[in-house]
Symmetry: C2
Subunit: 197 residues, 2 copies
DNA sequence: AAAAAAACCTTCCGGATGGCTTTTTTTAGA
DNA sequence: TCTAAAAAAAGCCATCCGGAAGGTTTTTTT
């Protein structure tokens, strides 16, 4: 982007602010109540302004998913690195899954289940994201058994489990209990994995 | 209301039919699009009739949850019983989690995350359901380690994992792959469990 | 440096649908 | 026949998403 862009920069800032408002709204009131109206208001824009940046609701949602997925790949600082598989998996829960951003993503994915158009719109991006996650796990972990496929499976299973935990926090399971479940899972899975390099 | 029997039965049938329409709608178009209008139409009633049976949407949803939870406890026929832990867990996936009914339930629970009123309305029932599930697992399984607490944890973790699987089917994970994940988990957890009796 | 074009934003309107309430009609038991 | 529940119909109010019209600011062109 060579120089030419005071307005473009402004526009990008606006878009990002709008997406962040959308994320907050998704976390606070869920997908259905996340109306363009609400997003525009909380982002401090008029309805028309939002429409200018995102012609339709689907466009806003897609951009928000972009933003959310980008966040999952934020580089970790060096001292965040642990040498321990268990630590690393617990970190995945605390820093990756059990977060507002992931909840927002779940709201959108939940809506996409029955919104075919949205599903189609998001599909390729989500698939690419999945592949990237798989590659990331291959880079960081190796299986004690030596089977590379197993590594990917175990990590995906871990993510599935954690997603599932996220959905049960509503009915009578305390935070501590949830944490115990996470530890137990890690305890079961960690012995099968090693950190690379 | 003297003799009150014939009409009550009819009323109950109507309520059940409406709940079933609601379940279908939840599966087909999700919670947000499951309007009273839609449910009334697909159930073959007028809007007013539905209104008569369920004064508000929350009442309909609560009744639908009743219906859904009741279904999870349908008695199994004798020949459905397997003597094998792995078989039993796979059955839990196929007959319990990976079903339209469970998806409908997930839709409602997803909506309840941000709908405080609904959440309050459903809370006690869901907690009781959880306890009943725990008791059921205590009755059917025992831990190789002998720790009863561990049995409950492992089964709840299994359910969490399966719930998580349910939510990932949208982005690039095939049915076969999902099935492989289930088998892999069962393989990991089954050695820790025994069937009782 | 002035004019034209594009981007940005605001304010308003329209069709549609949401849940809910009220009123009227139908049904069925006593 | 009479009465009360059940069902249907009609209307109400709010909100949703999309879009049009108009004005201002920035960028590009001349």
């Amino acid at each position: 982007m060579p120089e030419a862009g005071v307005q473009q920069a402004k526009s990008q800032r606006a878009r990002k602010a709008i997406c962040e408002a959308a994320i907050d709204s998704l976390v606070d009131v869920g997908y259905a109540e996340t109306s363009l109206n609400r997003v525009a208001t909380t982002a401090g824009f008029s309805k028309g302004a939002l429409q200018h940046h995102f012609p339709g609701k689907e466009d806003l949602v897609a951009a928000t998913v972009d933003e959310l997925l980008a966040r999952t790949f934020r580089p970790r600082s060096e001292r965040d690195r642990s040498t321990d598989v268990e630590q690393e998996l617990l970190r995945a829960w605390n820093r990756f899954i059990n977060t507002p951003a992931y909840r927002a993503l779940m709201e959108i994915l939940g809506a996409a289940r029955t919104d075919k158009a949205l599903q189609k719109r998001l599909s390729s991006e989500l698939v690419a994201w999945g592949r990237r996650l798989d590659q990331q796990t291959r880079d960081h972990y190796e299986a004690v058994s030596g089977d590379e496929e197993e590594v990917v499976m175990l990590l995906n299973m871990t993510r599935s489990f954690m997603r599932g935990l996220l959905t049960q926090e509503r009915y009578g399971v305390s935070r501590e209990e949830t944490a115990r479940y996470v530890r137990k899972w890690v305890e079961l899975v960690a012995p099968l994995l090693r950190l690379k390099g």
